[in-house]
């Protein structure tokens, strides 16, 4: 059963995780994937949404991404706090300190 069905409100974006790296990606205007939310396709157009849905299913089937789902957006940003947070990564990561130390 598909988990991709669009049930949201307002402009939709499609997100997933890359299968190999696990990193977050968003579907782009050419129906590819980007790790940068700024590249995400946000649309209320039913035809586009349907292509996004089918593309994401196909990409999951092709094992490039995992766990694809639509998210609601408001004023260009994800509506839910969690989804907003996902677009910019951890606000703190010890990795950043290590990199500073290693420079």
């Amino acid at each position: 059963m598909s988990t991709l069905k669009h049930k949201g409100k307002g402009p939709q974006a499609m997100t997933a995780n890359e299968l190999v790296s696990g990193l977050n990606v968003w579907m782009t205007t050419d129906y590819g994937w980007s790790r940068d939310y700024a590249d995400a396709l946000l649309t209320e157009d039913d035809d586009q949404i349907s292509i996004m849905d089918e593309t994401a299913k196909a990409e999951e089937f092709a094992n490039t991404v995992v766990g694809a789902y639509f998210i609601d957006t408001v004023d260009g940003k994800p509506a839910r706090y969690r989804e907003r947070f996902r677009t910019h990564g951890p606000s703190y990561d010890t990795a950043a300190l290590i990199n500073q130390e290693r420079v």
């Binding site: 190999v20 696990g22 094992n63 996902r86 010890t94 300190l97």
Partner: protein, 547 residues
């Protein structure tokens, strides 16, 4: 320390080979995510908010130095140069790629480590007093018991698909450093009036959305009956635990709904049907396991250290981070992983290697992880304390804040966790920053702040002297406070205060209650003592004084 026998090694290696095949099949599409997910979870691999996360088991928090160096190697080679010590004494890596995980597990297997049973509805990593084998107040080293439970529970065919996950904690000390009342089963090694050593079994504790303290299931269980009795308890849970609602599936709900008296009867009835000789382990096997935990040969000729001639920072560190040892002339060293600028529990690969080197030189090659997200060198000569401190200073691990307000337990929260409702790491950092002055921390005295990023309570907020729960409403994080929780032998679930705070308001509110306590405390009262004496209302008033 315990070393795998041939059976363990063969089993772990075959699991690595199986998982390598499963990952290959996942990557080339022969396995779907739905098929693969339970397999990766059985091997400790989660998909979190931003990436995969691998949780490596550290059984009862005991590490050999080759194992700690291996964790450092994993951090450097496959992750981003650090690991995170969890409240279950395990170590997590936040950024592994799926394609690297088989190699990570294969590397771990070379030092008797794995990530099995760090997820799923099975018996999870057994946690233990981090001072085991080193503290004078224990009846015996509890780690052979923990190891026995590990072996018994590892892939136990009957208990691999329980209604929900299941957590054991063990201690042999009346001063509970393992939070045994907060576990599905907590075991305290005790002596009865006849002087025999046995087990006090506590059941039905747990935090999460329904915090409950465990109750006594059996006040004194003879040693020989342990595994049959645990088998009987697990069977009762397996049969009657709820599988229809995951929020009601933990044993604490079964015990609460059944009542401890009836639950005990169910266990006793089941126990009566078992042939003890079928399940119990032989005395020889118990002795074989215990032989791995023989204490090292301690030097009996150690000169006392002249603290007065040492630098003040060292003296402060000794006063805060060093605990008495059972052997004269030795000490237990707590290594704080609570630098205010870092996430509680995080340790870099370089720091892991530094700790391993110190342990090899000064602690018989042993390291512990603690449920308070710190590390311990269990057996340090007192005349080597200065050398250890110098080594910790060089590794930036010299924070002198064990059990003080800066020693905050904190789950990864929204910064990493897919289930989180709010961040917890920045809150811990803001509190640590506000109280960064060491003398102020000392003056405040024993204080346990515990922070969870959601109701699942991995940060143990219910049992914090000050507990903080991160929530979110309409896109804004806010934090609820509980006061008066206690994770020790005087365990208590904290009292919920009222409306939540923004992060900034929260830090001010905490400062107000700390100042209130400082003003009201009598003699050497700890925060918890003053809270218990004055009661909730007075502290609540202080908490909300400016709002």
């Amino acid at each position: 320390m315990y070393r795998y026998d041939e059976f363990d090694a063969e089993f772990v290696n075959s699991r690595v080979a199986q998982f390598r095949g499963q990952v290959e099949r996942r990557l080339d599409g022969r396995l779907s995510e739905a098929e693969f997910r339970p397999l990766r979870l059985m091997n400790g691999l989660y998909l979190q908010l931003h990436a995969y996360m691998l949780r490596v088991a550290v059984p009862y928090g005991t590490l050999r130095t080759d194992q700690l160096r291996m964790l450092a190697h994993l951090a450097d080679k496959y992750d981003k140069g650090y690991g995170h010590v969890t409240t279950r004494q395990n170590m997590q890596f936040n950024w592994p790629a799926l394609s690297d995980v088989p190699d990570m597990l294969s590397d771990l297997a070379t030092v008797d480590m794995h990530a099995i049973q760090t997820s799923g509805n099975c018996i999870r990593n057994v946690t233990c007093d981090p001072y085991a084998g080193a503290t004078a107040d224990e009846i015996e080293d509890p780690r052979p018991l923990a190891e026995l439970i590990r072996q018994w529970s590892m892939l136990h065919p009957e208990f691999s698909f329980l209604p929900r996950k299941f957590k054991f904690a063990v201690t042999a000390s009346p001063h509970d450093r393992a939070m045994i009342k907060g576990h599905d089963i907590g075991i305290q090694i005790v002596k009865n009036d006849a002087g025999e050593v046995g087990y006090h079994i506590i059941v039905g504790g747990g935090l999460g959305r329904t915090p409950v303290l465990g109750e006594t299931l059996c006040a004194f269980l003879p040693k020989a009956d342990l595994l049959p009795y645990l088998t009987a308890t697990m069977r009762v849970y397996n049969r009657f635990g709820r599988r229809d609602n995951k929020y009601k599936a933990r044993i604490k709900i079964l015990v609460r709904d059944t009542g401890i008296a009836d639950f005990t009867k169910l266990v006793d009835d089941e126990f009566a049907t078992l042939d003890v000789n079928d399940t119990a382990v032989s005395q020889e096997e118990c002795e074989r396991i215990a032989s791995y935990f023989e204490p090292p040969t301690f030097d009996t000729n150690i000169k006392a250290i002249d603290l007065d001639s040492q630098p003040e920072a060292f003296r402060k560190w000794v006063a805060t981070n060093v605990a008495p040892h059972i052997a004269p002339g030795y000490a237990i060293v707590n290594i704080s992983l609570k630098n205010p600028e870092r996430a509680p529990g995080d340790i870099t690969a370089e720091q892991m290697r530094a700790v391993a080197d110190l342990a090899d030189r000064e602690s018989f090659g042993e390291v512990r992880t603690t449920h308070q997200q710190n590390m311990v060198l269990p057996h340090v000569r007192q005349d080597a304390l200065r050398a250890v401190w110098d080594g910790l200073v060089a590794a930036e691990l010299e924070d002198a804040n064990i059990n003080l307000i800066g020693d905050i337990i904190c789950c990864p929260g929204m910064d990493f966790c897919a289930l989180a409702t709010a961040r917890s790491i920045p809150v811990a950092q803001a509190i640590a920053e506000r109280f960064s002055d060491h003398d102020r921390q000392q003056a405040i005295g024993e204080m346990q702040i515990k922070i969870s990023g959601c109701i699942n309570a991995c940060g143990h907020h219910h049992v914090g002297h000050i507990g903080i729960l991160g929530l979110e409403k309409s896109g804004v994080e806010f934090y609820q406070v509980t006061l008066g929780g206690d994770a020790t032998h005087t365990a208590a679930i904290g009292d919920k205060m009222g409306a939540g705070f923004s992060q900034d308001e929260l830090v001010d509110g905490i400062e107000r209650i700390v100042d209130f306590y400082m003003g009201e405390r009598s003699g050497s009262e700890r925060f918890l003592d003053t809270y218990r004496r004055l009661g909730t209302a007075a502290f609540k008033e202080a908490l909300y004084a400016s709002t």
